[in-house]
């Protein structure tokens, strides 16, 4: 990497790979009649999910004027387009997540997000795999992508049922794998414990290309929940070489349930001392109008490019990472 901070961090060869990746993605969707769209990066509503912190924006000289938010993903306006009858759509855009900075994180990064009307999660996983084959055919072939449920992955690699809500077995699994437990882990919420096992124990042991699917209902985000014992979220994630690349949902279309989740998330934000954010009433109105049955997925293009270029640090695929931006 270039040492001089005015210079790009990524080599010009990697920037050419990025351009090639974008060209191939656009060709893939053009061939399949999926419409490219653009939606606002700056919007009035925020995302209440406590695990994602938005950047609030205001005029430089008037910090007190009503704020907007830089989006953390284009999901809400894209669903409004779907509800308005757009048919299948995709978008390539920058998204923003405060406080996320590290070897695999930059607070501003590039997402490819697309929605397929009439698809469920397995159908969309198949399309993600087809897209990756077209992107990696001549560089680093992905091979067949395995499919493993969240529960199977936890049982196989951590020896514990990841869908059980009891915390003690999760703590014992951490203990067994000699993972130190951070201070301040909650006694009443299993999700941070699952996330610790996932990142410290399971991700490093995953097969080279794998979809995890059927997540705990508490991690549904915007996915629909399939009833059962226990109920599971129809959500999937793609991992390549143990790195999270994509997140997809069989989308929740129920406006009442969506509002209930938003309000519960804002309540959790307040409980954690975070500022609540205004809900996206436009999205809720679109869901009330009717969102067609669909599945959607977001792919982190910078991480895909890291894999294509064979580099370990996200800075090496960005012209100007945050430190130089």
């Amino acid at each position: 990497m270039n040492e001089n901070p005015w210079q790009p961090a990524a080599g010009l060869d990697v920037l050419r790979l990025r351009a090639e990746l974008l060209t191939r993605i656009r060709a893939f969707f053009a061939e399949r009649d999926v419409l490219e769209v653009e939606t606002p990066l700056l919007s009035h509503a925020g995302l209440p999910t406590p695990q994602l912190e938005s950047f609030a924006a205001h005029p430089a000289s008037r910090p007190e004027t009503p704020t907007g938010y830089l989006h953390t993903s284009p999901e809400f306006p894209m669903k409004r387009l779907l509800a308005a009858g757009s048919g299948p759509i995709y978008q390539i855009c920058k998204v923003f997540r405060a406080d996320e900075c590290g070897r695999r994180h930059n607070p501003e990064f590039t997402l490819l997000e697309w929605y397929r009307v009439g698809f469920d999660a397995p159908a969309l996983m198949t399309e993600v795999e087809t897209l990756l084959e077209s992107l990696f055919d001549d560089t680093r072939p992905v091979g067949g992508i395995q499919r493993l449920s969240y529960r199977e992955a936890f049982l196989q690699y951590a020896g514990v049922d990841g869908l059980e809500d009891a915390i003690a077995p999760l703590r014992w699994a951490l203990d067994e794998h000699a993972i130190p437990v951070p201070d301040g882990m909650p006694a009443d919420d299993p999700d941070p414990w699952r996330d610790l096992l996932l990142t410290q124990v399971i991700e490093p042991r995953l097969p080279p290309a794998v979809f995890l699917y059927d997540y705990p209902a508490s991690q549904a985000a915007l996915a629909r929940i399939r009833p059962g014992r226990p109920p599971v979220a129809e959500r999937f994630e793609l991992y390549l070489d143990g790195v999270e690349i994509a997140n997809g949902f069989h989308e929740l279309t129920d406006a009442v349930e969506q509002r209930r989740r938003f309000e519960a998330e804002n309540a959790r934000r307040i409980g954690q001392g975070l500022a609540p954010v205004p809900l996206d009433e436009h999205l809720l109105a679109a869901l009330e109008h009717g969102l067609p049955d669909c599945a959607g997925v977001a792919v982190g293009l910078d991480r895909l490019l890291m894999r294509t270029a064979g580099v370990e640090d996200i800075d090496a695929v960005l012209a100007f990472p945050w430190e130089r931006a």
């Binding site: 999910t49 695999r104 994180h105 437990v181 301040g184 985000a221």
Partner: protein, 189 residues
């Protein structure tokens, strides 16, 4: 007291952990896209030199450690303490055996060292990377025998023992790398 949040963590940051001053030597941010973020860190305890691995929930804070690296001139030792002076303020501090530890083999009067102060007390001493020291004891020098790369031990004025080429004699001054303890060359006076 100042505190640092995990998103300010970076290499070289000095923080308090379990009552001891530490420096962060590695910090990795780990986060599932929709999940809890963690900072996986490695820290060196500045008092003991021990390296700790510790994971934090992102958003937690640690107290800043009042640790300063100061260039100071080595003055002398009374056997119990090693005395250093700040050449700007002429302030003197006495560093005990545990703070000086391995550095004492390389301390020559008037050399400038980095003294790490915690709340004003010296907790470690780093000698200059290169020091010039006189040989006080070694086998007699043998000329013209460098081809084999053979070496012999030589004791220096500070008590350090280094491996030197056979031509080195008592009274020679040598340039030595304090990080590896290796002989570099004879010093030109």
């Amino acid at each position: 007291m100042a505190t640092y949040s995990t998103n300010e963590f970076k290499r070289g940051l000095k923080v308090m952990l379990d009552g001891d001053p530490c420096t962060i030597i590695e910090n990795e941010f780990v986060k599932p896209g929709k999940g809890q973020a963690f900072n996986r860190t490695r820290l060196r305890n500045l008092k003991t030199g021990r390296v700790w691995e510790k994971t934090f929930k992102s958003g937690e804070s640690l107290e800043a450690a009042d640790v300063l690296d100061v260039d100071m001139q080595y003055l002398y030792s009374d056997g119990e303490f090693w005395y250093f002076m700040d050449p700007n303020t002429f302030e003197q501090v006495g560093a005990g055996d545990s703070a000086v530890s391995d550095a004492k083999n390389w301390l020559k009067e008037q050399d400038v060292c980095v003294v790490t102060l915690w709340n004003g007390e010296p907790i470690s001493v780093t000698p200059p990377n290169h020091v010039i020291l006189q040989v006080t004891e070694t086998d007699p020098g043998v000329r013209g025998d460098t081809a084999t790369g053979a070496t012999k031990p030589a004791t220096l004025e500070t008590g350090a023992v280094v491996q030197v080429p056979l031509f080195v004699d008592v009274g020679d001054t040598l340039k030595v790398d304090t990080r590896s303890g290796e002989y570099i060359s004879r010093a030109k006076e």
